[in-house]
């Protein structure tokens, strides 16, 4: 995917605040999800972690808006509580590996050629391992837990970010104004932090937003197969795993968390697209 580099001068023109209806919709959705993740659990009744076997697998009704699960817990409120685990963990993972990626990319772009080559080979190794496999490996080594899943995802996430940013930074360094600045005596460090890095951060933000979406999916997948969040965590993937046997008899226990994952993933993916289009209107057709 080619990235068009806007020179830093054009930064100011990006600030337009008239959003289309669709953009409003996406923004609202994302803000809503974040609000639910942060504040939602504060409103949850204590019964979210309490088993009420007699009331299990009840279809959606007035008391339980999305029905109850196999332990008699309210599905709706478990979704709200689970949002915190899912979203916050995803944020943590993406931020972690983005930071690692940025750091390594900066070193690679600014440093000597051999360092660049070495770091790129490191990313090659990182790219050879599918995330799911590494997560399974860590689960075997450390025991299955949310922590091992987060570590595994952070470790497999940075190569792509590092590659991307290094590419952008290198291209930026090629631009004439950089050479000009160097001639003027601007130190490399100042160049990196004041000019090159901020320019690349645009791309990073786009990727960061889109990655939240995919990370939510991956985390849910890992929890589903049992190497992520463990019971009685309300993490959405773990919830789907426990509801697995009830697809036919109590569909709401499976459909609700699945829809939650899908909506969150789609919302953040669209957010990433939106930011990208705003940054570069020529991509609008995509």
């Amino acid at each position: 995917m080619s990235q068009v580099i806007t020179a830093p001068v054009a930064a100011a023109s990006r600030r337009k605040f008239n959003f289309s209806a669709f953009e409003y919709f996406v923004l609202t959705l994302v803000v809503l999800l974040l609000a639910i993740a942060i504040f939602g659990p504060l409103f949850a009744p204590a019964s979210v972690f309490k088993s009420d076997i007699g009331n299990s697998l009840m279809p959606p009704n007035a008391a339980n808006w999305l029905g109850t699960d196999d332990q008699g817990r309210d599905v709706f409120w478990r979704l709200i509580v689970g949002a915190r685990t899912t979203l916050l963990s995803s944020f943590l993972v993406v931020t972690l590996y983005s930071l690692i990626g940025v750091a390594l990319a900066t070193i690679a772009a600014a440093g000597p050629r051999w360092l660049d080559e070495a770091l790129m080979r490191l990313t090659d190794i990182g790219l050879a391992l599918p995330g799911m496999i590494v997560a399974l490996g860590f689960a075997a080594a450390m025991g299955p837990s949310l922590q091992s899943a987060i570590i595994a995802m952070a470790i497999t996430g940075w190569p792509i970010t590092a590659r991307l940013l290094r590419g952008i930074m290198r291209q930026t360094i090629e631009l004439p104004f950089v050479a000009g600045a160097q001639v003027l005596g601007v130190s490399k460090w100042r160049l990196m932090t004041k000019h090159i890095l901020p320019n690349s951060l645009d791309v990073l933000v786009v990727k960061w937003a889109g990655d939240i979406g995919t990370t939510v999916l991956v985390l849910a997948s890992l929890s589903f197969i049992g190497v992520g969040a463990q019971p009685p965590s309300a993490e959405w993937g773990a919830t789907i795993a426990s509801a697995r046997g009830y697809v036919s008899s109590a569909w709401w226990t499976v459909v609700a968390p699945g829809a939650a994952v899908a909506i969150t993933s789609i919302a953040f993916g669209l957010l990433g697209d939106m930011i990208q289009i705003r940054r570069n209107p020529s991509l609008r057709e995509n």
């Binding site: 972690f49 088993s51 076997i53 019971p231 009685p232 697995r244 046997g245 009830y246």
Partner: protein, 525 residues
């Protein structure tokens, strides 16, 4: 949608059409063709069993793994077996203890042949027992005290024990006799364990067949006790999800489904095409304490925890009422049980007792096997019950082989372990001696050590008098109950379901739960 075609495109289109036609033809041909029989047996003489859990090995050494035991019970023979709760001879026609219960004289049946044609003789029995002793794991724990076998001739031998052990003879119902020549020839560096993982060295009614996708066993024509109506082939398909097992059963891809979740079975109760059989054998759901180290070493805490679990709720909501609340450390179907009152949930009393023990806000840990959905639900229920009285319970998943390994050291035994306990064979003694005798390292699940219990059990092991043994066992159980070695939850009747018209009936088995495949008889002759 697309415009009319020019000359060039027509060629491409024709090519495409041809491809499409070819595909359709293959499909039609494939669907029209009868299923080619790669198996000797036809579908209506085959029974397909759906069961959950990994089938790790088919080595008789590991008859302590349920899935392994279910399959090898039909591929191998034992010296003695059980008819309901009564012991009868199988390969052995006569057997008797010596006066001091330190040796057993056995007469072997004549004319038994292994699947490869060789005769089964006393040498094979000796080899089997010696191999178990050498390896020391798996069912070797059942032949505690085994010393050697003296072979008199092909059909007569004496088993010598280093100490009196009246459990030895019943234990032989789980010791499958292997073809010594075959195993010896393939023993490699690990006494044949790698070879026996997927090969057959038995003499039973079925021969091990194809194992590429499911484990198939085929009828052995030269079996010494042939019965009419046996399926020609039994296929064991591993399907972990109960819901998937149920769906495959309803679709006709599976004939018998073992171990269905109670909810799934309940949904089929009114379906005339299937028959639900609650298997009442010796399964009891328990939470076993580590009585030696950790917070659960305090008997007061144990007694308090016994009053926390929602027995009635769990039995009704998780097990679909397929079972009965427990009253004692041993499953209800066994003999020699005292009449103990069941424990009820009493959160107030539990809280008070915990306060007395100074553990009002303790943090506890419980291990469980997440591969069993119902146990996962029970663990979650117990966790929720404990939260109501302010105790935090951390759930730790564990795999069965790792649990077994943890039993070797009292300090590594889990604080609490949720499992479905069952008797390897229907003798009360085996559960007590293996489970609670202080020298039974590796099978003593509670790290339990009580000299009084040891004395009573030693006496029982040396007593030939059955009634006296029974009484001693009862006394032991009373002590264990008083000591709160476990939270005995409920006996569970695991539902097994079969399609009407495939097998005639499903007989519950105390030896290979839920049923022995060798007992299957086809519904239509």
């Amino acid at each position: 949608m697309l415009q009319s075609l020019s000359g060039i495109s027509a060629v491409m289109l024709r090519r495409r059409r041809l491809m499409g036609a070819a595909c359709a033809a293959v499909l039609a041909l494939g669907m029209g063709l009868p299923a080619t029989d790669t198996f000797a047996a036809s579908r209506d003489k085959t029974i397909i069993v759906g069961l959950g859990g990994a089938i790790n090995t088919l080595d008789p050494l590991r008859a302590d793994y349920n899935q392994t035991n279910t399959i090898i019970s039909a591929v191998y023979d034992t010296l003695v077996t059980y008819d309901e709760a009564k012991m009868v001879g199988s390969l052995a026609t006569e057997y008797a203890y010596s006066a001091d219960a330190k040796s057993i004289t056995v007469t072997l049946r004549d004319g038994v042949k292994f699947h490869d044609g060789k005769s089964l003789t006393a040498k094979d029995v000796a080899y089997t027992l010696d191999r178990l002793k050498r390896i020391g794991t798996g069912v070797a724990s059942l032949i505690d005290g085994y010393d050697s076998t003296t072979v008199k001739d092909d059909t007569h031998f004496t088993i010598n024990l280093s100490k009196s052990n009246t459990l030895f003879l019943p234990s032989l119902s789980k010791i499958y006799i292997v073809n010594s020549a075959l195993v010896e020839a393939n023993k490699g560096a690990d006494e044949g364990q790698a070879w026996l993982q997927g090969h057959d060295a038995g003499s039973g009614p079925y021969v091990l067949g194809d194992q590429s996708q499911a484990v198939v066993i085929d009828l052995f024509p030269g079996y010494w006790a042939p019965e009419a109506g046996r399926p020609e082939s039994i296929v064991f398909r591993r399907i972990d999800e109960s819901a998937t097992r149920r769906d495959e059963l309803l679709a006709g891809n599976v004939d018998v489904a073992f171990g269905l979740a109670d909810r799934d079975a309940a949904g089929m109760a009114t379906n005339p095409a299937v028959k639900v059989v609650p298997i009442n054998t010796s399964y009891q759901a328990d939470i076993i304490f580590n009585t030696n180290s950790g917070p659960t070493a305090d008997p007061k805490i144990r007694k308090a925890l016994r009053m926390v679990y929602d027995y009635a709720g769990g039995l009704r909501g998780i097990r679909g009422s397929n079972g009965k609340v427990a009253n004692g450390p041993l499953p209800a179907r066994l003999d020699c049980r005292p009449n103990l009152p069941p424990v009820k949930q009493d959160l107030e009393a539990a809280k008070a007792l915990l306060k007395e023990a100074g553990a009002s806000s303790a943090k506890l840990k419980m291990s469980f096997q997440p591969v069993f959905e119902l146990q996962k639900q029970e663990a979650t229920l117990f966790q929720s019950n404990l939260r109501e009285i302010g105790i935090e319970l951390e759930l730790e998943p564990i795999a069965f082989p790792n649990y077994l390994a943890s039993l070797k050291d009292k300090k590594t035994i889990p604080q609490m372990m949720l499992l479905e306990d069952f008797a390897q064979f229907p003798d009360a003694g085996v559960m007590l001696v293996k489970g609670y005798k202080s020298d039974a390292i590796g099978t003593n699940r509670a790290g339990y050590s009580n000299p009084e219990v040891d004395k009573l059990l030693d006496e029982a092991l040396a007593t030939g008098d059955e009634k006296k043994r029974c009484d001693l066992y009862s006394q032991v159980q009373t002590i264990l109950d008083k000591d709160s070695v476990m939270i005995d939850m409920y006996g569970v009747y695991k539902p097994a379901v079969y399609r009407v018209g495939t097998i005639a009936e499903l007989k519950a088995s105390m030896l290979a739960t839920p049923a022995e495949p060798a007992d299957f008889r086809l519904a239509k002759k």
